[in-house]
């Protein structure tokens, strides 16, 4: 097997080795490298499986191969129970994927969260997205106890304290701080609109280095928000990734508008979908159009593609919108020694039985 030239975002001494820390970087992750190089980043959201099968996670991650710079592992989004974000990250980091672990404050208190941050960083999770989380009433188990011990802001602060001051919230020392790139969420499409850019400023003050926004279907509203964010000088202090996604049909759009908290879908978007012959195709087209508009806005550093249950279209959307500009995000490829290992594994299974008990039995005839 011939060795391909090393990708810019991998360790030249071997794909499996962790990346070298770069000066000024807070993590060893590829997402931070891409953003700090000034490239337009693409992240995607993995639909968490309702199963205990690792293969499900791998299959769902494989559709993003070579198209995204980071995969979001959601933490029971919409208060619906799924495989945990920590579990997904454990599986994906083993395979070398760049994961963005989401932490929601809804389900765990500060003791559990700080422990998870350490565990995740130890496994190689380089990005953590700090969220408040939806209310339990939004999900399939409205009888659960809402925890909300921290909120997104104090969670950011907590992780920052752990990373930069090398201690827990209580002040107890950490021997190795978690080297993570910290993210937060923004929603420019919900009231109070005047407060939203200031809230981003607050999140940056609390430690956010990148933010991912809620679904954007209203570009003029986003432009207004970005203008105010730029005036406050926030676009230089933090990488802003805008959330986009295809709508499957006009019916889905209406359902989302009525049932998913915080998603703003203007009427003309619904009308455009309704008027189309193939609504699914039109939804994808719409998503690409929005990406093309969004990438021109000054201060936007990337897009976050949330194609819930349409993950297979992510590659197409990224390709057709051309946001990567010919760049190839890191992709998991079989290494030169993988074939050898596989061969050896087969061989191992074939070796004769060498358990002493059996050998004695054999000798006794």
């Amino acid at each position: 097997m011939t060795r391909r030239p090393p990708h810019i975002d991998e360790n030249p001494h071997g794909v499996d080795l962790p990346l070298e820390p770069l000066p000024g970087h807070s993590s060893r992750g590829r997402l931070e490298r891409v953003l700090r190089r000034g490239e337009f980043a693409v992240t995607a959201e993995l639909n968490p499986p309702d199963s205990a099968n690792a293969q499900d996670v791998y299959e769902r991650a494989a559709v993003f191969d070579g198209w995204v710079d980071g995969i979001n592992a959601v933490d029971a989004s919409g208060a619906n129970c799924h495989m945990s974000s920590l579990g997904i990250c454990a599986l994906l980091t083993r395979m070398g994927y760049a994961t963005i672990m989401q932490i929601a404050c809804r389900d765990r208190n500060r003791i559990a969260i700080q422990g998870d941050v350490l565990g995740a960083a130890a496994m190689g999770v380089a990005n953590i997205l700090c969220l408040t989380g939806d209310g339990v009433q939004a999900g399939d188990q409205p009888g659960a106890k809402p925890v909300f011990d921290l909120d997104s802001m104090s969670l950011l602060e907590t992780v920052r304290v752990m990373r930069d001051e090398e201690r827990f919230l209580s002040g107890r020392k950490l021997s190795t701080p978690p080297a993570v790139f910290m993210g937060a969420a923004i929603n420019p499409f919900a009231p109070p609109y005047d407060f939203r850019p200031l809230r981003l400023a607050k999140k940056i003050a609390a430690g956010a280095q990148f933010v991912q926004s809620q679904y954007c279907f209203d570009v003029p509203m986003l432009q207004e928000y970005m203008k105010r964010a730029r005036n406050l000088g926030l676009a230089e202090k933090c990488y802003i990734l805008i959330g986009v996604g295809p709508l499957a049909s006009a019916k889905t759009a209406r359902w989302i508008r009525a049932n998913v908290p915080g998603v703003h879908i203007p009427d003309d978007v619904v009308r455009r979908l309704e008027g189309a012959q193939n609504q699914k195709e039109e939804g994808k087209r719409l998503c690409i159009d929005i990406i093309n508009e969004v990438k021109e806005i000054e201060g936007v550093s990337g897009v976050h593609v949330m194609a819930y249950r349409q993950e297979e279209y992510v590659a197409e959307i990224v390709h057709e919108s051309g946001v990567l500009k010919g760049r190839r995000p890191w992709k998991r490829e079989p290494g030169p020694d993988d074939a050898m290992v596989a061969d050896r594994l087969d061989h191992l299974l074939e070796t004769p039985n060498q358990r002493p008990v059996d050998m004695v039995k054999d000798a006794a005839g």
Binding site: G133, P142, F148, D149, A190, P192, L198, A205
Partner: protein, 200 residues
């Protein structure tokens, strides 16, 4: 194949949306004024009044806090621990009436436009979540005006408008059901003592 073999009825695919809808039906009977957070007032009238009068309440509280600080020798004489119960009782009644106070014991009303953040179903102390409805109501309790939309309105009226931009620490749950007034006074008195000592 025999024809009398019954065809299996197509099993309806259960989507997540279906489950969510069914789960909501379970809690569908819920009186409109009931909240997972214990609420003092049934209506939002007083809360709204307090936000509208944030400026005067701010002025009043500043003087009130000063008065408490002046009374520091008295609190000391009685003993802060013994004063706790009656002061807490009064504080709970007054703030319960005005703000639907939840007695978190670490009052930040001056930084939240006189709208108590503990009334938020997520108890957010640092600003609104992304789920605020287009009409400015809460995502969890659809008939309640978002605590943080109100806080922003209140903050605009106040002298300390930019206080709302301070990043608040997480709630210390061990201070629940204690008097915030006395704690603030005790801390201010300690601070004053330190300053006078440093000056000498």
């Amino acid at each position: 194949m025999t024809s009398n073999k019954k065809k299996k009825p197509l099993r309806q695919r259960v989507t997540q949306a279906t489950i969510v809808r069914k789960a909501r039906e379970l809690i569908a009977y819920k009186p409109a004024d009931v909240s997972p957070q214990r609420r003092v007032q049934r209506r939002y009238t007083m809360r709204r009044w307090s936000v509208r009068h944030a400026r005067s309440l701010e002025w009043f509280y500043a003087h009130f806090a000063n008065m408490f600080l002046v009374l520091h020798p008295l609190w000391n004489a009685i003993g802060y621990r013994r004063a706790e119960a009656p002061v807490k009782f009064v504080e709970k009644q007054v703030k319960g009436l005005l703000f639907d106070c939840r007695m978190c014991g670490q009052c930040i009303l001056s930084s939240t436009g006189m709208s108590c953040p503990m009334n938020c179903p997520k108890q957010l102390r640092n600003g609104p979540c992304g789920g605020v409805r287009a009409n400015g109501n809460c995502e969890v309790e659809p008939d309640m005006p978002c605590v943080w939309v109100k806080a922003w309105e209140g903050a605009q009226r106040m002298r300390g408008t930019e206080n709302i931009l301070d990043v608040q620490k997480p709630v210390d749950q061990s201070l629940r059901e204690t008097s915030s007034w006395l704690r603030v006074t005790a801390l201010a008195a300690a601070e004053r003592n330190r300053n006078t000592k440093a000056a000498e």
